[in-house]
Amino acid sequence: MIESYVKILVLCVNGIALGYFVILNTTYLIMGFIAYWGLRRHARRLKLLDIEDLILTSNVPPITIICPAYNEENTCIEAIRALCTLNYPSYEVVFVNDGSEDGTMQRLINAFSLAPTDRMPMADLQTAWIRGIYQSDSYPDLWVIDKVNGGKSDALNAGLTFCRTPLFCAMDSDSLLERDALTRIVRPFLEDATTIAAGGSIRIVNGCTVRNGVLERVGLPRSLLARFQVLEYLRAFLSGRMGWDVLNATIIVSGAFGMFRRRIVIEAGGFATNTVGEDMELIVRLHRHCREKGIPHRVAFVPDPLAWTECPESVLTLGRQRDRWQRGLIDSLTWHLKMLFNPRYGRIGMTAFPHFFFMEMLGPLVETLGYLSFVLALCFGLVNNIYIAAFLMVAFVLGAALSIAAIGLEELSLRRYPGWSNFLQLFVLAILENIGYRQLVTFWRVRGILSSILGVKTWGRMSRRGFSGEEVL
């Protein structure tokens, strides 16, 4: 009797998992086609409104780059030098030292001739105690806020408190912006005055050559784990984010590089400090805030402004990162659960939010159960060849097809990976990632769900190699 119940259960789970894979991959497929259309449109519009020309002939708004850092003594100098040489007419850099325990602050003082100065907070956001504010003698537009450790969101809020420009750019200290990234990401703010936030594409810097904060050569990383992430980022940004942008339903702007309208972010309360997914949470909250207040708004994704970021190359670090991302996703969605299928929140409430809730947040659970029940069903001979073929098809072949589509989108748009060798390697990776890597990521995401249930709020220790490639902890 029990055996038959177990069989029914396994078969039910198998059916649900199969259905999940079909819906998930079909959604991705549709997104891919929408993104294809969006990228083509974007490329043609770029030709019509040359961005350099636009910047030169328009009064572009000044920008503050807020760059929080914690224990970044090995990378901070190069990162700031890169930020100080961006191609944009009017911007200042606010580097926030978030209570680093290493020599970050001293190195900054020495390298940029920092001197203590006075600066009045321009917003009322609560942050950890600010020990001092410094201005550089060598780069007058460089400011450093030295504060007690309070986490990334707290550091961003500290920077935001002292921001005096209508737009600010939030980024990670381990990200490297292409020189024209600001001119490109500001474009949606010029084209549409209702734009409140915009995100750019993020790429993996591992394997690339960086000299004096400038990306000189693009290449694939040596580590297989990092290579898989290259493909993941291509898929996520060119297919996913671009697709949602065309549908005007963007709910994520990556914390590694995003531009925001200062006034609206402060109005909404700044970055949430009690989540590790502050980037997504802010965007969801901004949508909610604007909808509830009747403020016309748009959150845009622009594929061409690129930020290059370092990705984890060890299994442990990558696992911690994905665990954290999943917890961030859960916080962002559960805190604003009211938006789910709520027509008051427009396309966000009716499309993007449900997708992220069911497919991205709960999906890993279904996927894991699906894998387990599939193995069980195989072991006990519960499924026929038809089911086996169907499962492999939707879980693996369609997955590979979607990754290959992302490579096609890259060829259509940015084409940052030169040479046939890189191109062919991406193809091989598109097939390989479905065997092992994808399951591993799913496992970490399930772990993230469990961590979230257990109330874990920590960021997790991350190791960095720096742009020069030497590992630092």
Partner: protein, 357 residues
């Protein structure tokens, strides 16, 4: 007719199996299609890059020779293949953007035989190709094709209309200023700074038209703001009196702020009586702008007003007041405020320190 009766003869399991085989074939075809597309995109990119490099090599030296008077136009036209005509226009547009005067005229002459084809595209095709045609005509085909570009300003697509309007403005076609102004409302989503720069790029000759539009009571606040900003960018002195007059009657925050910014640049002491009342406006944006203008135009009589504004509930107003005091040469007052035992002393110190930097 395709005979599908055999499907009905199959058992349910066989039908499912058949469906599955079909699905598998579809998914594999899909994967194959994506892979082929990726390879095709790459090959096409390589081919297109090579094609453009070849064409540019072929035309660039010839175009320079024509501009230098070493060769004539027909010699270059002979080098433009039948299927290369639109590519040639594309090439000339990119070239022309960097040039002016006689050199630009030569490029227009080179484009002349191919412009009828471009002109036909203004009314057909998708949004982007219509916009592209309007842009090419405004760069290479004015004044002959002005009518076509103006048609594009009235295009149902705001993008086409915007590209056409911007092109006319950049080509300094002042006679079409009114057409552009009439369409500003359609470009409502674009930022004010972008639209005002566009109008200002028409040059100082456009100022009378802008002023006429500015005093027109039918203008929406958004258009009025754009016009004011354009006049400010042009440093149009006669606009100061009009802006000062507007301060007494206008209620829109953006229009008031734009008028105050304009007065800050081209106004004079005679406008102070209209500006001072706005220091007490309920909206902090208006207060902040009024304070800034006092820093530029004000007199010693305004120091008490600025001292009060330094203690305004808005930090932005206080910051402007501190800067205004410095602008009026009242650093001593600011130093005194910096020594006070209140929160704002920090702001005074900041402004003093920034002045030193």
């Amino acid at each position: 007719m395709l005979d599908l009766d055999w499907i009905h003869d199959l058992a349910v399991e066989d039908r499912i199996f058949l469906l599955l085989i079909g699905s598998i074939a579809f998914v594999f075809c899909l994967a194959g299609m994506f892979a082929t597309s990726a390879v095709v995109f790459r090959l096409r990119n390589i081919r297109m890059t090579a094609y453009w490099e070849r064409l540019e090599r072929k035309w660039e030296t010839e175009v320079i020779a024509v501009m230098a008077g070493e060769k004539d136009c027909p010699s270059l036209w002979r080098r433009v293949g039948k299927n290369e005509e639109l590519s040639f226009i594309d090439f000339l547009v990119r070239f022309a953007r960097r040039l002016e005067g006689e050199e630009r005229r030569v490029l227009s002459e080179l484009a002349r035989p191919y412009l009828p084809q471009v002109a036909a595209n203004v009314r057909k095709g998708n949004t982007e190709s219509r916009a592209e045609a309007a842009q090419a005509l405004s760069i290479l085909g004015l004044p002959e094709y002005a009518e076509h570009v103006v048609t594009a300003v009235h295009d149902p697509s705001p993008l086409v209309a915007m590209i056409a309007a911007r092109s006319l403005a950049r080509e300094k076609q002042v006679e079409y200023a009114q057409t552009i102004i009439d369409n500003i409302d359609r470009f409502g989503n674009w930022t004010t700074s972008f639209l005002s720069s566009m109008l200002a790029s028409l040059g100082p000759e456009v100022a009378p038209t802008l002023r006429r539009a500015f005093v027109d009571p039918r203008q929406s606040p958004q258009v009025c703001t754009v016009l004011t900003e354009s006049l400010r960018e042009l440093h149009d002195l006669p606009a100061a009196d009009l802006a000062a007059e507007k301060l007494g009657s206008e209620e829109d925050r953006e229009v008031l702020a734009a008028c105050l910014r304009l007065l800050g640049e081209v106004g004079g002491p005679r406008h102070l009586p209209m500006i001072r009342p706005l220091v007490g406006a309920a909206d902090f944006v208006v207060r902040a702008h009024a304070i800034t203008v006092l820093g530029t135009l004000g007199t010693a009589a305004d120091v008490p007003i600025l001292r009060d504004a330094f203690l305004d509930s808005s930090t932005w107003v206080a910051l402007r007041a501190a800067k205004a005091l410095l602008q009026l040469g009242k650093a001593a007052v600011l130093i005194e405020l910096a020594g006070a035992a209140n929160d704002r002393a920090l702001l005074a110190r900041q402004v003093l320190a920034e002045e030193v930097v």
